[in-house]
């Protein structure tokens, strides 16, 4: 939609969350790793097996982070790959 009343004529593109509906977003975050060569073989090793993830849902009234943004939701999570850290 347009950014101000002078150019608004309707909803041109709907990006809001619809009522009574679920919206899903999936994020993939790579763990830091490096490929190590040993005895002529390459092995992929994890540099960190734990990630601290913060999920924040903002409403950004002016379309950018200018101090007017409002946090609707925030959750911190620690995820790990401790149980399965070697590439097989």
């Amino acid at each position: 939609m347009g950014r101000g009343p002078y150019e608004k004529s309707g909803i041109l593109r709907e990006t809001s969350l619809a009522p009574l509906k679920s919206t899903h977003e999936t994020f993939e975050i790579a763990y830091p790793f490096e490929d190590v060569e040993k005895d002529g073989k390459t092995r992929r090793e994890l540099l960190k097996d734990e990630l601290n993830v913060t999920v924040t849902l903002y409403y950004v009234p002016f379309g950018e982070f200018d101090g007017n943004e409002v946090v609707f939701f925030e959750e911190e999570k620690t995820i790990d790959l401790k149980t399965e850290w070697i590439w097989r």
Partner: protein
């Protein structure tokens, strides 16, 4: 079976008659009030402070709301009115506006239809005074003149959606059925005498507790009745066609006034209780070695799945 059908039809006819006969205590279309010639005069006509003596709690709630500063806004509205003039009205070839001196009430109704509906009771001089006041306020801020900025901000704040906008001016929606709001009557949920010299009567406004009432401003998109339709608010359109159409049954008032316990301090995204009522967010995660593709091979990734359920009565964000 036939008898049941007949009773059913009689019942339906009864409903229709009831609907046609439902009415508030409006009356014939009154003579329009004399045009206010200054901001002060218009603000005085709609001054809510006179209601505070008896309705202190409601007044205090309202004072916290954006309705109490509907022209100033957060303060985002007043500068947007200037943007509308500079980037819109002055650039449109047929608006008739080349300078601030050309601005009339009709031009400002683009914004004032909702932000100051009572502007239609003022002269074009008042429209120009509003624009000059907002410009002066902006300039005072730029100059660092805090006293002047505060003084002008108070003037802008004196123009608002006060008690008598909702409880009189726009109180009756279906005027052919319910009549026109009368100049001596406060419209709400009760009937009878009202202890006030100017508004000495109370009468019911049939729609004041319904979503359509809020929909008068928090609307359905472009305001086609204006010479130059614009679209700010779409909340009532979203409510009707995306919420009610999918089984939603609560009203604007139920969430924004009662469940939130905000009363006349109707809020939206700036209020924690409204945010709490708006969305259910669930975050799930897993970590795994993911065979991405031939080039990148197996990549260790964390997958964060965020599910957002909008449990409100309209799209988020909306207005």
């Amino acid at each position: 079976m036939k008898r049941a059908l007949i009773f059913g039809l009689i019942g339906c006819a009864g409903c229709i008659m009831l609907a046609l006969n439902a009415s508030g205590a409006g009356g014939p279309k009154p003579e329009p009030p004399p045009k206010a010639t200054t901001i002060a005069e218009l603000a005085e006509r709609y001054d809510s402070s006179r209601c505070a003596d008896c309705h202190e709690e409601i007044y205090d709630e309202w004072e916290e709301s954006l309705h109490a500063r509907s022209v100033l806004g957060s303060p985002r509205t007043a500068p947007t009115i200037i943007t509308t003039i500079e980037k819109g009205l002055k650039l449109f070839p047929y608006s008739g506006v080349k300078s601030d001196d050309d601005i009339t009430v009709e031009h400002l109704m683009l914004c004032a239809k909702c932000h100051l509906p009572q502007l239609d009771e003022a002269t074009d001089d008042v429209a120009r005074e509003i624009v000059a006041t907002i410009r002066g306020w902006q300039q005072a801020y730029r100059d660092g003149d805090d006293d002047k900025a505060e003084e002008l901000e108070e003037t802008i704040e004196s123009l608002n959606i006060g008690c008598m906008v909702c409880h009189n001016k726009i109180a009756l929606i279906h005027k052919y059925a319910d009549g026109y709001p009368q100049p001596d009557t406060v419209y709400g949920g009760q009937e009878g005498d009202h202890d006030d010299d100017e508004y000495s009567l109370m009468a019911e406004a049939p729609a004041i507790g319904e979503s359509i009432f809020c929909g008068q401003c928090h609307g359905q998109g472009p305001n086609f009745e204006l010479e130059h339709p614009s679209q700010c608010a779409t909340a009532y359109g979203s409510y009707l066609f995306a919420y009610v159409a999918h089984g939603g049954s609560e009203s604007c008032q139920e969430c924004h006034m009662y469940k939130s316990e905000l009363g006349h301090n109707m809020q939206s995204y700036r209020d924690d209780s409204m945010i709490e009522m708006a969305l259910d967010v669930k975050v799930e995660s897993q970590s795994l070695f993911w065979r991405k593709n031939k080039e990148e091979g197996v990549v260790p990734i964390g997958v964060i799945d965020v599910s957002m359920y909008n449990k409100s009565g309209h799209a988020i964000p909306d207005g």
